[in-house]
């Protein structure tokens, strides 16, 4: 068994929210929304793990938990075998440098009052306060060149850059402190198709040069198919299927994965209406019995209403959480 770089086990995170049908705020009953609901995931060194899922499934929460921006309610996150999820802010410092995040929206992730150079130099000076600033500036210029931005743009402010350039600056910013693990939360969704290709190429190239490990969140299946080594499908705060890229795209097992694949637009093949989900992404209702997909799944049966399915291996390295498949009902 390979050693996992990041090991997430039985992670829980709930947010409190007003009860749906209470109109008066002072009489509101607070209920809990389980953003992450017992999630297990291992990320191995040097791989690209893509997590796909609809909005509201807890992707961004997971990214924030992994980065330590938020604290989990239960469960643990291990980094090279050491639990880091409940470290004090000071003890966490060493890990902050080793893991970095690229946020979704390149427009809001950069401080509008700082120049590109300032954005890049700041994290280096923060982690190495004794370092000479001119060295940091040199590193920043080298990093800009590495992500394909003309160093003459270093004195510009974010609003003077295009969307693709801003996303490159974001990536450069994350790489300034020489991390080994990079989390990217929807790095492509705010970009045009032609710019997406540039960013995908850049990410792949940087991974090769620096032996980075990626955890990428996305709902763009075409991009995921292009870059992932392994793919995890997330629904309602849980992983419902996880396998290698070939397995997931050639032989998706879970009804939700099949629906996602069918819905993804393809330029040469017409859309497939056979794997349609019924209804909408539900507003999360706390602690309900059974499979979270039960209301939308065309193949739900009795067991799905009572018991929540667990991830089980169907083939080597291909795990699915679905009663129908796990019990061999097919």
């Amino acid at each position: 068994m390979r050693q996992a770089l990041v090991d997430i086990s039985n992670l829980h995170k709930a947010y409190s929210a007003p009860h749906e049908n209470s109109a008066l705020w002072f009489r509101q009953q607070r209920s809990h929304i389980n953003a992450i609901d017992g999630l297990d995931l291992a990320i191995y060194k040097g791989e690209t793990l893509c997590v796909v899922g609809e909005s509201g499934c807890g992707k961004s929460t997971l990214a924030r938990l992994v980065m330590g921006i938020e604290q989990p309610d239960a469960g643990s996150i291990g980094y090279e075998g050491r639990a880091i999820s409940h470290l004090s802010s000071k003890a966490r410092q060493a890990y902050r440098q080793r893991m970095q995040i690229v946020f979704q929206d390149p427009y809001t992730a950069l401080n509008p009052r700082l120049t590109v150079m300032h954005v890049l130099v700041e994290p280096v000076m923060y982690h190495h306060p004794q370092l000479d600033r001119s060295i940091a500036i040199e590193q920043a210029l080298a990093q800009l060149a590495a992500v394909g931005i003309d160093p003459s743009l270093a004195q510009r402010f974010p609003h003077q850059l295009s969307g693709g350039q801003r996303q490159r600056v974001n990536i450069a910013r994350a790489l300034m402190v020489q991390p080994e693990f990079v989390v990217a939360d929807e790095p492509l969704s705010a970009l045009d198709v032609s710019i997406q290709a540039q960013i995908l190429n850049l990410l792949a190239q940087l991974q090769q040069q620096k032996q980075l490990t990626y955890l990428i969140f996305s709902h763009n299946l075409a991009a995921v198919e292009h870059m992932a080594d392994r793919v995890a499908v997330m629904y309602e705060g849980k992983i419902c299927e996880i396998a290698s890229r070939e397995q997931i795209f050639n032989d998706p097992q879970h009804p939700y994965t099949q629906a996602l694949m069918a819905a993804s637009p393809q330029i040469h093949t017409p859309p497939n209406n056979n794997h349609k989900l019924v209804g909408d992404v539900p507003n999360r209702i706390p602690s309900r019995l059974g499979c979270s997909l039960q209301d939308r799944c065309p193949r739900a049966f009795e067991a799905c209403r009572h018991q929540s399915p667990q991830l089980q291996e169907v083939v080597a390295d291909h795990q699915v959480a679905c009663h129908e498949i796990n019990q061999g009902w097919r």
């Binding site: 909005s55 693709g164 198709v193 032609s194 292009h226 330029i267 909408d280």
Partner: protein, 336 residues
Amino acid sequence: MSKPLLTVSDLHVSFMSRWQHEPNVDVLRGVNLQVRRGERVALVGESGAGKSLLATSIIQLFESSAHILKGRVEFERQELTQLNSKQLRQIRGRRIGMIFQDPMTNLNPSLTIEQQLLQCILSHRNISRKEAHIVALHKLRQVHIPAPETRMQQYPHQLSAGQRQRATIAMALALEPALIIADEPTSALDVTMQAEVMRLLSHLCNNNGVALLIISHDLSLVAHASDRCLIMYAGQIVEQGPTKMLINDAQHPYTQGLIKALPNMSSPGQQLYQIPGQMPQLQELQQQCSFAKRCEHAEDICYRQAPLMAPHGTHQASCHILARPAELDPDTELAL
């Protein structure tokens, strides 16, 4: 062939600058566009190409700094550029429906779905509230909103993103317009919802004979949801034709680049094709092909003269290089 419902010819729209020393920015530079009754037309291009401005120019919903320099917008035998604001209001909503990108900012957060639908219906049609309520309910059913009676009484924030977008589609359909303009209708939605909304739009247009102008930056999204496709670049249409032919036999280098850049066009792990450079500053382009700087095949003439739309292959494209096929083919060149 039926007579076009909407004909945009040689439309030039420009943003006036606020300061004397800054030149005006010509965003649309001679756009020609036709939509027939019941036809689904897609308009594809990168952000900044002027897609949204073209959509809003048709019904003149653009901001006050934009203005139409020249060109005609003919819709149902009326010249829209000549109408005053009162006459335009009769067209907007009633004859041309509009669906915007983000349903959350498009709906009024302080009104229920019913109030918004009724407002829209009652301002155009002379019917009682009760009748309008029935129409509204019917429209919500048409767009497959579950439990429409309860949803009507709710506010936009209580609906999911997909339902909100369907409510705006219901609103656009409420007055039975002849044309619906959908400006990136699914970019705020997830893949499953995106497929659902596209299916719904296509289906409704087929059933009700409504023409549809879909604006998108994703060629694979409109590939199976449109009859005809126009590729827009830097304020001009660079290629147009029936969607299937345009995708299978793309002529213009820009269209070819857009298709090649799609992640599923190359095998996993391979380097993706990327169009070099980025969209030029619009002020710079006067007498040249707007794509010349990023084009692999660009020649002298591309920098000196703007190409014209001409038939190439199965459809039309505007490119100097295509206009001289002899030079692309080494055999014919030798023969000459």
